[in-house]
């Protein structure tokens, strides 16, 4: 049966193709929208139905006002009154990015050089607020505490997600807060709230924003996509649990999900420039005060005490520069790094910045640390204000010893160590030294560097083999050393006795022919030398010389000594000829 079913399907497909081929003229393209109006939070479904034939895919015109996502196809075959037809439905999801009336389409396909177009549909995109919030199970809001702040003034940005229905898979695009310095105010908080008599679960994100420049800054809409879990039956409004679904639906599996696209309204913040600043302006915008204190008001010459100035209040203390402090005559001053402690709450950021310095009096008497002034801009009063810490008196007692600069007093309050806080972060500096451009990669040398060691190894291997051969072959060693041995035996003598000369020559010939030379007769010497390739003339000379030695040796007295040069000449001639023959 499966084989028969596959056969029928093949026949149907073939017939459909034939019908398609025949029905080119009946090609139709139809575009449909599942809605004519939508809000910025909704999504629309575009369906383009291609009937007739062909496999050409339809194309939508550019839709810059929407984010377009392909949602799939449906392929349908049908047979009516014996004729086959094919219908393919292509679907896209549209997520609006702008308000207004938009034409969707026409969709078009190209088949055999002809273009088939669909009709055009219209779609109206309304603001999200066009739909009353109380009627919606989920919605999002975004707001700022002040749309018209001063540059550097703290304003609160609050993003909220309200829901009174079950949701799944929430996906929030990251909040685009470009143009502001942004400080987080903790993790996302959740609470319940009553809006228009309806109880909502609210998730809230708070951030502190600080405009960096005057002018308009727009916070673009943020988008949250959630899957709204609903009952698959039409039971809305009768759920005893107040939501759009009930535990009974979930138990009986009567649930479905709907993708909901939630966007906030764009927010425009117009930052105002600060008025012209007075001298000594600290850069702080907010509400601050300064206090000044000494660790001790009575101290001896050479001992140290700590002068601590604390700036505290609400606002961004990171905007504060260094605090100008008056020089103190009669003291050595050692300044410490300022310490910033930022406090975050739902109402914004604030904290303290502490400037410490160690003072070592150099002379006895009464001294005074002058008052400390902090100039800041108060946006609530729209004016610059000055906080003043009063002057502090110090009584310095004399000390017998000269000042020693032992700083025995801790620079931080209390005896415990203080954790290091990272106040800010920035790039590590550039590292441009001349060495960057002087050293070059030895690319061309690499093959040589890699090939040289094996080449050297090969040379050493050959040398080692020759040495081994020389060491193991006695005959070779004798042949190679014959000349050296003979010349060594002659030495620097000018004349040799016949017996000695005969011994030297025979030994040389023996070494060359691989025999015991002293035991060879002149004739045997001549035969062996001829066999090795020595010339007849040279062989004759050698034999004559040996005969002469023999005659002198056995003939008795009166033998003439043999010149060393004659013997050396004969041996060297032999060496040349025998080596050449080899």
């Amino acid at each position: 049966m499966p084989g028969a079913r596959r056969g029928l399907a093949g026949i149907a497909a073939a017939l459909a193709l034939i019908a398609g081929a025949r029905g080119l003229g009946a090609q139709t393209v139809r575009l449909e929208l599942n809605r004519s109006e939508m809000t910025m939070e909704d999504q629309a479904l575009v369906s383009v139905t291609v009937e007739g034939a062909g496999r050409a895919e339809p194309k939508l015109p550019p839709l810059s006002a929407f984010a377009v996502h392909f949602a799939g196809t449906q392929d349908q075959f049908s047979m009516v009154n014996g004729s086959f037809s094919r219908r393919v439905i292509y679907q896209w999801t549209l997520l609006p990015k702008e308000l207004g009336d938009f034409a969707i389409g026409p969709a078009s396909i190209e088949l055999d050089g002809a273009t088939h177009q669909s009709e055009v549909a219209t779609l109206k995109v309304l603001p999200a607020s066009a739909k009353p919030q109380s009627s919606r199970p989920v919605f999002v809001t975004a707001s700022v505490s002040d749309p018209n702040p001063y540059v550097g003034e703290q304003l609160l940005f609050v993003w909220r997600f309200y829901r009174r229905a079950r949701i799944a898979d929430p996906r929030l695009d990251s909040l685009d807060l470009g143009g502001f310095l942004v400080e987080d105010l903790g993790e996302m908080g959740t609470f319940q709230v009553n809006e228009g008599g309806v109880q909502y679960e609210v998730a809230e994100i708070r951030k502190a924003l600080f405009a960096q420049r005057p002018g308009a800054i727009t916070i673009p809409p943020s988008r949250l996509v959630v899957q709204l879990v609903q009952s698959s039956q039409s039971r809305r409004g009768i759920d005893p649990f107040g939501g759009v679904s009930s535990p009974f639906d979930e138990f009986f599996g009567r649930m479905r999900t709907e993708t909901v696209n939630l966007v906030t309204e764009p927010i425009t913040v117009t930052a105002r420039a600060l008025p012209p600043a007075p001298a000594g302006f600290s850069g702080l915008v907010g509400e601050f005060k300064v206090t000044s204190s000494l660790s001790s008001t009575e101290v001896a010459v050479g001992e140290s005490l700590t002068h601590k100035i604390v700036v505290s209040g609400s606002g961004n203390l990171n905007l504060m520069g260094d605090l100008p402090l008056d020089e103190l005559d009669g003291f050595k001053v050692y300044r410490d790094q300022p310490q910033v402690e930022i406090r975050r709450s739902v109402n914004g950021i604030g904290g303290t910045k502490t400037f410490s310095r160690a003072l070592v009096p150099l002379a006895a008497g009464s001294a005074e640390v002058p008052e400390t002034r902090l100039v800041y801009f108060d946006p609530s009063q729209e004016t610059y204000r000055t906080s003043v810490a009063p002057a502090l008196a110090i009584d310095v007692a004399p000390n017998g010893a000269d000042e020693d600069l032992r700083l025995t007093e801790g620079m931080s309050p209390g005896a415990g160590k203080v954790a290091v806080r990272i106040l800010a972060n920035d790039l590590q500096p550039i590292r441009g030294g001349a060495e960057l451009v002087k050293g070059r990669a030895p690319g061309a040398m690499l093959p040589l560097l890699l090939a040289l060691p094996p080449i050297v190894f090969a040379g050493l291997l050959v040398a080692r083999r020759r040495a081994d051969r020389f060491a193991s072959d006695v005959g070779l060693r004798r042949r190679r050393g014959a000349l050296r041995t003979a010349l060594g035996a002659i030495g620097k003598r000018r004349e040799l006795e016949s017996r000695d000369a005969s011994s030297v020559l025979r030994r040389y010939i023996g070494d060359r022919v691989g025999a015991e030379g002293q035991a060879l007769t002149p004739r045997e010497c001549a035969d062996r030398l001829s066999a090795l390739g020595a010339s007849e003339g040279l062989v004759g000379d050698v034999r004559a010389l040996l005969d002469r030695f023999e005659a002198a040796d056995f003939g008795g007295g009166g033998a003439q000594p043999t010149p060393a040069s004659e013997l050396r000449t004969v041996i060297e001639r032999l060496e040349r000829e025998l080596r050449r023959e080899r």
């Binding site: 550019p62 392909f70 451009v437 070059r440 093959p447 094996p454 083999r465």
Partner: protein
Amino acid sequence: MRRFELSAPASSLVSWMVMILCLAAGAAPASAQDTAIIPAGDPVQTLSRANDAYAASDFPTAIAGYRALLDSGHDHPLVHYDLGNAYLRQGELGRAIASYRRAAAGAPRDQDVSANLAYARKSARDAVTPPEPPMVWRTVFAWHYALSRSELWTAIVVLNTLLWALLALRLWRRSEALTWAAVVIAVLLAAGVTSLAFHELYATRVAVVLPREIDARAANQADSVVRFKLHAGSEVLVRGESGGWLRIVLPSGEQGWIEAEQAEVVEL
């Protein structure tokens, strides 16, 4: 007569090493070509002018200077690092991250490079994890990821010299210690050559997004549907290239096509 011969395993090891080294040496001219000098004035002065421009916050001039150095063959990792700093100061996040990635490839253990790359990545908007090999791989093949290509070349040259020196020493003095030392060095050399071959033959290509926002489409056509969006500084793997388009893949496995001119491709 006694003949000197290498044992069969040693002989095969040597011939195998020679073959690998020939392959590696064959790749060397490419490196040499990369570093060919193109006359562009005194490089020390060019660098000095670029550094001065950076210090004076004249970042376009600094960028032009660093790029001139790179174009003239002074492909030092810290020049890429300085270029990344200049790009980041100018607000070109994508190009800055691409330059830092190149610097990190050449100086993988440099803390300043790592710090600035991490700093730049904080400004990237997309929560896309930059393409990195799994921790297991980075542990098991630590030398492959901890050494730059130039360091690998240096190690190979040194190990190669040591290996042949030990083999030569063995000609005159046969000992078990020398044999084992040669085997260990041969294994290290093989690891280095294999690592370098992987770098050369299977380089990872990472695309860094340049514009503030781009569309990743389902196909390499401008009218194809938009599958997802990416923002400046996002780093994604490149799986292919066709007709001016790059086929990219996210860590989740989702794929898309982006226009090649909208991203800077870094080969690691």
